[in-house]
Amino acid sequence: MNKRISLLGVALMLCGIIPSAAQGILGGHVTGNIQFDGQISHRDTIIGADDVPKKLLSNIRTDILYTNGDFSAGLRYEGYLGPMLGFRPDYEGQGIANYFVSYRTQNFAVTAGHFYEQFGNGMTLRAYEDRYLGIDNALRGINIMYRPFNGVILKGVIGQQRYFWETTGLVRGIDGEVNVNSLVESWKDAKTQLTLGASFVSKYEDNDEIISSGIDGYKLNLPQNVGATAVRMDLSSGGFGLQAEYAHKGQDPNDLNDYIYREGDVLWMSASYSKKGMSANIQAKRVDNMGFRSHRTEKYKEMLFINYTPAISKQHTYAFLSMYPYATQSTGEMGLQGDFMYKFKKETLLGGKYGTDVHINTSLITGLDTTRIGGRGTNGYTSDFFSTGDLYYGDLSVEIAKKLSSKLKLAATYGYVVFNPIIEGHEGDLHHNNVVVADLTWKINKKNSIRFEAEWMGSDSKYDATVDDKRCGDWIMGLVEYNLTSAWFVSLSDQYAYNDGIGNYYNLSVGYTKGATRLQLGYGKQREGIICIGGVCRNVPASNGLTFSLTTSF
């Protein structure tokens, strides 16, 4: 009873009394959004779904933002009354998870409280949130941005990281960025633009914990301050673009690198050329021991990251192409990616009446070529900068999208994926998969449309109960989606392992959208698997049952 009263009380305070009062007395605007996700799951031994003792699991969040001119303030309520499957149980509970006040003018901004921030590409610092992955490493402290003159931006942060319902660690950082063109009047509107930046981030962590050196009676002498420095550039000239960032991290023995003292670094480069209807992009990356977290002993692999090293493969959207998602191995990897897009114009041989879009992407990621020195309490290993280690992941996808008539649109995709299970932590043979997807949209009239999707995946992997990788084998999938205007949709899909695999995952979803409000209901089976967003991954257990979600903003 008490809990309910307090919940109701908090809710009224949050979205009733305080905002109305604030708005009435002070003027300004109150906006916000609400997301509610719920799940009821039952046991299914084949897909490995367990019964949920709580019966109903739900995640709720509400952001309330108050804005009045240059001033803004925000609060976020989060409630995990039985966190959804896949969320860490540590989220259990409810309360105000995030609050801030902020003052922003064009050239100056200061935020106190929780904030999200990124320096450059995030290789030294990225405080961000991904609510579907249950990741929120917001910093709570002070964030300052200052633009002393046009083209120069300075940022400074100091704060502690969110960790479920606590804040912990200590992170400090500064960042500077200069748009070189802005410094000289005659260069301002030049075709060639150059921006340079640099950042420094340091974490402090007490050294009083005793971490065994692997020899009884000894402990590691751990650095209390660990710093990471990065320099970056962004050069663009018409259709050409060149971006690069290099980051280096000092000694940081931690759970991810098994407490070795080797310093870390990452080099990332991207070169592109594009003009209307055509583009090419090549990226290269080398990561070496760059996991930078505010607690060296943190047990959850995805938590408490200070920096972010993006994955260098394409984020696929079709189910079978994304079945083996790749996440950056912050301990070490090398990668190359090529991306090519071309639009055959209307009324040409390959373009036909409406034109044809072709999109080709390929990536190859390997481990580092390392020579071991020792285990914890040593420098760990040496590695040659240019030579590669084991193959981790490779893929190729060719997508052709074509409007067949004013009512029919077809997208056909061929994909090839090779995947080394070692990146998910277990030894095994490489998986080689071929994927074919046909995606057809038929716009019947202004109000009605139907989308059909058929996917096939052929794999050399076979399901083996001892490894229990439910992705193995050959699969087919079908999906039908009916849309009534932009308000309603119903979709029915089934994934079925027809050879060397197990599982039959069917799903029925109904959704309704009106403005910013969206309600979705689903019933069916959800595969156990790794979902990755932006290169960060989380393991989601299988579920079998009902899911519903409501989001709205105001």
């Binding site: 002393p148 009676g217 000092g250």
Partner: protein, 288 residues
């Protein structure tokens, strides 16, 4: 307003620069540090040499003019008793231990602790010695070890050993030492017992003041206490104390100073009664 901003930012940048210059860098030799010798005890295989041995702890100093005489007497006794007598030279923090000229100080904090505990510092008479930390009805059986060493040692060696001790060591990674201590109960012991490990170094050439007041720059100091590896009063021995019980413990030790030459060092291990500090038996070994 703008000026305030600029001032604010200048201060911020200034503070930041200082805050961020500090970034810890640990030298390779110091990645691993000693966390305290908390050896665990296991069932052991016994001790081959079950003889009773004695340990003479001598409190000395480089400015103590009578100490070389004691060194000589102890040297004679050690030669006479062979491995049955183990000597340790302890330099506490008294004025007698102040280095002469530009020579290293041999004092140790552990030595000072013991010197105070056994009343050597209060008495202020050097040299002073204890054999097996024996006591009389009036207190610690301190004596001047220029004579009478034999009677003290014989007193100990005439007993049948209650517990046998053996110690062995091995140098690992060139910078730390693995120490194995075996004990075997020959008679039942009901007292709580402690094991103390000491690191002692031989052949240290440090200026010593002689009886005639002259300084000998080439004086050789032997069995100088460098460090009590365990806590100064020893580590608890996990045992029942029943006759015939055999226990073994492993310790790892990283010398605190790289100036200590491990090849000239011994490890001394002794079992003592926790409350009375009385030493039941002792063993030593070269660091290899």
């Amino acid at each position: 307003m703008k000026k305030i901003f600029q001032l604010f930012v200048s201060v911020f940048v200034f503070v930041s620069v200082f805050a961020f210059v500090s970034c810890d860098k640990i030298e390779e030799d110091n990645y691993i540090v000693y966390a305290g010798a908390a050896g665990k005890w296991y069932d052991g295989s016994g001790v081959a040499d079950k003889s009773q041995r004695a340990i003479i702890e001598k409190y000395t100093g480089v400015r103590c003019v009578n100490c070389p005489t004691a060194d000589e007497a102890i040297g004679v006794a050690v030669g006479q008793y062979g491995d049955k007598l183990i000597a340790v030279a302890i330099h506490d923090s008294s004025n007698f231990t102040k280095p002469i000229g530009d020579t290293p100080r041999l004092s140790t904090p552990d030595g000072e602790t013991m010197s105070q505990f056994f009343g050597v510092r209060d008495a202020g008479q050097y040299p002073a010695a204890l054999v097996n930390r024996a006591s009389t009805s009036t207190g610690w059986d301190l004596f001047t070890p220029t004579e009478g060493i034999n009677s003290h040692v014989d007193n100990i060696l005439s007993n049948n050993a209650t517990v046998a001790v053996a110690v062995d060591s091995a140098v690992i990674n060139n910078n730390s030492v693995d120490i194995t201590v075996n004990i075997e109960f020959l008679q039942p012991v009901s007292d709580e017992l402690s094991l103390t490990l000491m690191l002692i170094e031989d052949s240290l050439v440090v200026t010593q003041r002689l009886h005639d007041g002259s300084d000998n720059e080439n004086y050789v100091h032997n069995h100088v206490l460098r460090d009590v590896i365990t806590d100064v009063w020893g580590a608890d021995i996990d045992c029942t104390g029943a006759a015939g019980e055999k226990r073994v413990a492993l310790f790892q030790y990283k010398p605190e100073s790289s100036e200590w030459n491990l090849r000239r060092c011994h490890i001394v291990a002794f079992v003592s009664v926790k409350n009375s500090k009385q030493i039941l038996n002792v063993a030593d070994c070269h660091v290899r």
